[in-house]
Symmetry: C2
Subunit: 152 residues, 2 copies
Amino acid sequence: MTTARTDDAMLRERGLRVTGTRLAVLRALDEHQHATADDVVQAVRADLGSVSVQAVYDCLHALTSAGLLRRMEPAGHAARYERRTGDNHHHVVCRSCGAVADVDCTVGHAPCLTPSASHGFAVDLAEVTFWGLCPACAADPVPAARTSGTTL
Amino acid sequence: MTTARTDDAMLRERGLRVTGTRLAVLRALDEHQHATADDVVQAVRADLGSVSVQAVYDCLHALTSAGLLRRMEPAGHAARYERRTGDNHHHVVCRSCGAVADVDCTVGHAPCLTPSASHGFAVDLAEVTFWGLCPACAADPVPAARTSGTTL
DNA sequence: GGGCTTTACTGGAATCGTTCCAGAAAGTGT
DNA sequence: ACACTTTCTGGAACGATTCCAGTAAAGCCC
């Protein structure tokens, strides 16, 4: 893992204290991209022995607002966290199991992501979510959830 | 309201029973586009006198899966429902107060909405959410929430 | 490397939106 | 009208997340 020493530096750079819990959270997210808060709790416990749920939530919030983590919350599923930040990437979410995968923006920078009429809103960010079925769920029929959006 | 008689027909067309609650829910959403479940409960109570929260949730689900309503759930806020369905429109969400406004797709049909690599997912729908501040919140400084995505 | 200040972590209770349950009530086709 | 569904009521339960007050650890200064 080449990230151990780097994580330490990253935390300091952003003025965050370096604690075992924070490093363990970052490590957990290196191994499980798109992990839920609960996944992270499990991973950190496996790593450090024990942590409170709140400590993990605190870390996730601290790291997210420091820009080291990105949080995404697919409708109807628990929030997921990932380490890829600052790049133009979007997500495919499985309707059935909630699995998430990254999707790189086809066209260069934010393509169609400038709203035509923004109704006076000061827009600073665009988020694209693709909905569908992951290979596993497509193969094996399981009840699906309902959400709506742009039909392709 | 020209929709009263039409709503009745729309429900029958989709094989749904026509009940006072359902009509009231549809009426409520004519008046408050992007209403939350709770807003709808309030509106229906003002209209019919009383309803249980569950009756409203049942209606919202029934109408949503019949395609008469569209459900959207901005991360960190309660779900919102709207009557515009089947068209390519997206949303701007206010980080501070959660207000939602419609945004029409600039470019014709689903523009950059075909994921480059879909990781084997059977994608059927793309959803675009713009994040920012509504005019009211931009004017008057209130603590904001944190979410992350594609920076414009 | 000892103290002091600041920030993180613990455990438990509380919140919010939503769903589940069983029974009563109302809509629909014949 | 009648029987058959489907919907509505009220209350309890749920999962994810947050709030709270107290304790423990990290960083900084000398």
